[in-house]
């Protein structure tokens, strides 16, 4: 959710000229009207201040100006063309989010998540992997924590006493490592291609410049392959030493193999769809 006290910033790779918004990662640019340029030139200012200035400059009712600014920023954010710089304390934002979630509950909807785009250095294979792991670090930690908490109740049913925590942590950590390795695998094959890591809600993906079909397939396969290779190494190690906790750690990583099928976007790209 976006608050009027939030600010916006142009992510690395996105630039503003006099009347166009350009994205070097996508290799595209889009024309902006006067109002669009007006709003984006004030990146860094709180959105309510921008809306007030827009209302004064274009002689608009304040509510209309605020709605226009929020809708414009919302659209650009959903396209990963602007990042939101939240204002206020994290706990306050969490409380606001919970309040909005409760208000939306009767409709069966959740607040639309904010998109966050981070720059990736794809100058070399190693830089690509390191910058992806760095960019997704917080995300990986959050997934590990959330997965462990979600998996705790079901593991209480299947695990014996004393093993519950280890089983849930193993699956949670494996899930998080899998996400990091998956995206790092993609980045490893994107050497020299402008790319960015995008996080939106529960989705994490790489945005990159258009590629030739063969390379696109290679990039698509490399993500799941990295996670599956690590997972199978852990499963084989655990099986060789009859160590269930090591096998459990490898299971979520091995599950990334499903991304190679047409069930996942990577699999569809790899299969030439």
């Amino acid at each position: 959710m976006i608050a009027t006290s939030d600010c916006v910033e142009l992510p690395s790779g996105v630039s503003l000229t006099s009347d166009r918004l350009a994205d070097t990662v996508r290799g595209c640019s889009w024309p902006l009207n006067d109002s669009g340029s007006f709003i984006l030139r004030r990146a860094g200012s709180p959105l309510d201040a921008v809306a007030r200035e827009l209302a004064e400059a274009h002689d608009l009712p304040p509510d209309v100006a605020r709605f226009d600014v929020l809708r414009f920023i919302w659209t650009l954010n959903s396209l990963a063309l602007v990042n939101i710089v939240p204002s206020g304390h994290r706990l306050r934002r969490l409380a606001d989010w919970l309040g909005l979630t409760l208000r939306l509950a009767p409709t069966g909807a959740l607040p639309t998540p904010i998109t966050r785009r981070r720059r990736l250095d794809t100058g070399s294979m190693v830089r690509g992997v390191v910058s992806t792991l760095r960019a997704s670090g917080f995300r990986v930690l959050a997934i590990a924590t959330a997965s462990t908490l979600v998996l705790l109740p079901p593991t209480m049913i299947v695990g014996g006493p004393g093993r519950v925590g280890a089983l849930a942590v193993g699956l949670g950590v494996g899930t998080a490592i899998g996400v990091g390795l998956h995206e790092a695998g993609h980045a490893a094959m994107l050497r020299g291609v402008p790319s960015a890591l995008v996080v939106r809600g529960r989705r994490t993906f790489l945005l990159h410049a258009p590629l030739a079909p063969a390379r696109r397939s290679l990039v698509a396969v490399s993500g799941p392959a990295a996670a599956v290779a690590a997972g199978m190494a852990l499963v084989l190690l655990g099986a060789a030493h009859a160590e269930p906790s090591v096998v459990v750690l490898g299971l979520p990583l091995a599950a990334h193999s499903l991304s190679l099928t047409v069930l996942g976007g990577d699999g569809r790209a790899a299969c030439g769809i």
Binding site: L206, V228, A255, L263, C271
Partner: protein
């Protein structure tokens, strides 16, 4: 060629998943000091036998059969998607 790719990726994906799942089951069985045999008719997926001082895990032809079925299912799904949606290129992985 596309069908071959879809078959290969589907077979690998389902084969890996089946192997990992059966390995987890077998290792958990070994750790519990029990025996186990998972199969479907003549197809054996995994068998765990306890011997005097150690356990033995055997992975059977059932895993290969599951992988082949997974590959064929992926080919069929890929054909269906191609027919319905056509080619898509969004530059997102």
């Amino acid at each position: 060629m596309r069908d071959l790719r879809a078959f290969a990726f589907g077979a690998i994906a389902i084969g890996v998943l089946a192997y990992a799942g059966m390995a987890a089951l077998a290792v958990a069985t070994l750790a519990a000091g029990r025996s186990l045999a998972v199969g479907l008719g003549p197809l054996v997926f995994v068998a765990v036998e306890r011997e005097a001082s150690a356990g033995v895990m055997t992975f059977g032809s059932g895993l290969a059969a599951v992988a082949i079925v997974g590959g064929l299912a992926n080919v069929a799904s890929a054909r269906l998607i191609r027919r319905r949606a056509g080619r898509r290129s969004d530059g997102v992985e």
